[in-house]
Amino acid sequence: MEKGKISNNIRKLRFFQNEMTQQQLAEKVGVTRQTIIAMEQDKYSPSLELAFRIALVFGVPLEEVFSYTLEEHKK
């Protein structure tokens, strides 16, 4: 099976959401600030539920926050 990578626009979306801080987002979705940092650095892929909660906070569809790329297509 081809390997894929999940990336996100959380940092950009936070900026356009009145420069929301990582702490504020963390509190809104119920995780620690470290988890938000890990996601922004692509070091952690969230669960589907957390992904939906993040999209809900920004008021955008899920695919505007997260994207999935197959390693082969990236090259």
Binding site: V31, T32, Q34, T35, Y44
Partner: protein
């Protein structure tokens, strides 16, 4: 560093020290020909007390010291994020799996000492050793996952 990451660091530090203490005491016992059941059981008791009391005390101290440093650096009241979110839980589970693997391997190796004709004391000593080692490796793995991501 998150609350859970700090706790893991404290646990790793305590159990690494305990591992060294245990190995040194076992070496001393074997060298002084005092590797007997009462001595080994006493050592086991001491280690259990150090592990529990040491972890609790050092965790409290770390959070107090961390809070003071945070206050001095930023002049803001420290916020303790004592919640364990999904990432913490996954990391914890991955660490526990590593601990189980090492413990199981330890039990199997300890049983091998019977095959080699060693006394039950050797088996018990090895069981304790692998128990501590499993904790050290698991905490090390958890910290690696916190830093490297997964």
């Amino acid at each position: 560093m998150s609350f859970q990451e700090k706790n893991t660091t404290v646990s790793l530090s305590i159990f690494t020290l305990i591992l060294f203490f245990y190995l040194i005491r076992i070496f001393q016992m074997v060298k002084g020909e005092s590797f007997t059941a009462p001595n080994l059981f006493r050592l086991w008791g001491v280690i259990a007390v150090i592990a529990v009391a040491g972890t609790i005390l050092l965790t409290i101290f770390t959070h107090i010291a961390g809070g003071i440093v945070h206050k001095i650096k930023t002049n803001e009241d420290p916020q303790i994020e004592d919640l364990q979110d999904e990432r913490d839980q996954i990391i914890d589970m991955k660490g526990t799996r590593v601990a189980y693997t090492f413990s199981s391997l330890g039990v199997a190796l300890s049983m091998l000492t019977f095959v080699l004709g060693q006394s039950p004391l050797v088996m018990f000593g090895l069981l304790i050793f692998f128990g501590i080692l499993a904790q050290v490796v698991a905490d090390g793995w958890r910290l690696t996952l916190y830093r490297r991501g997964f």
